[in-house]
Subunit: 197 residues, 2 copies
């Protein structure tokens, strides 16, 4: 499951509550070439890689999606994700829309979920409420959010983050429903049908 | 939502538990030209229609799907279904696979759910356990079930009725997930995006 949404939509809170309420999934850790900030741990916040190392993995097909910001690479390492998927576990990638659309190309089995704020006005309130940024930054973020939210039309599901608990239930419902889609249950139908009575 | 599955898969029990556990949906009542049996009420068990009346509705497009068994018509009246859908309610049609596939043609927004027994052996045990039928009837039903279950591949979701409570949760998850599919949320995306900030 790819989870995207603009800054201020509350993705982080929804994820935290998802895990707090017994949500069962592996949250993918991104790789980056930027330097760790104080307190950031390798393998927890990010996998910190050298530029050469990242580019090797990239050309080796070991990065599922990637982007460049401020001269640094950010991407999703393939290994840990497929390890979990092969064990039948749920996996969540919390990534930007460009990355999400790369995942759709490479992994047609991926489910893309877009988190929307209940309204644009509410998004603005939330961004202003943070009080960590001046109004110019807020305006810039709002315009970026508007552009980003266009991608919602290309995602599979849209979760409106009005009440966090409802959003969490919706994520769980998506996982539950996707598991029992016919394309993921062909083995079970085969088994029931071809048992020799 | 179309719900189908062979005799003995436990569809009826799953539906009963779905409603007992607060499941929110309108269960469509079929129309038929066969005579009511003792205790059957018009509009509850079936809508009992005359042959001519049924055929008029059929040619008027008022029957969503239909079939003929033993010289009688059975079908789903359009009116009550769309009345509920227009109010945003969930609707369940418990019908045969032929009907299910007719619904898919006429209502592309329909979601087709097939209920499977956990195994063929278990289906046989359940049919024998009823003790209302001789072994020849059981054998015939099992062969019919095998044929019917081929249609599971053409449905959207497959619910394996092992534990009834799990099957009920899966039905609820399907309703919840389908509601937030992007195709059903375009209005909400529009609203959030086109609000003039």
């Amino acid at each position: 499951m790819v989870l995207s949404g603009p800054s201020g939509c509350g993705k982080g809170t929804v994820l935290k509550e998802f895990f707090a309420r017994g949500g069962d999934a592996f949250l993918s850790v991104s790789a980056t070439t930027r330097a760790p900030r104080p307190g950031e741990e390798n393998g927890v916040h990010y996998y910190f890689l050298g530029r050469e190392e990242f580019e090797e993995k990239l050309s080796g097909g070991e990065i599922l999606e990637h982007a460049c910001y401020c001269g640094n690479y950010y991407g999703t390492p393939r290994g840990p994700v497929y390890e979990r998927l092969e064990r039948g576990e749920n996996v969540i990638l919390e990534i930007e829309v460009q990355g999400g659309l790369q995942i759709r190309e490479k992994c047609p089995e991926a489910v893309l979920v877009f988190v929307l704020p209940p309204s644009f006005a509410e998004l603005r309130r939330r961004l202003i409420g943070r009080q960590t940024e001046d109004m110019e930054t807020v305006s810039r973020r709002l315009e970026a959010a508007r552009t980003e939210m266009q991608a919602a039309y290309d995602y599979d599901y849209v979760v409106v983050n009005d009440r966090v608990e409802d959003a969490v239930e919706e994520l769980k419902a998506i996982f539950a429903a996707e598991r029992i889609k016919t394309e993921n249950r062909k083995n079970i139908i085969d088994e029931v049908l071809h048992y020799d009575a």
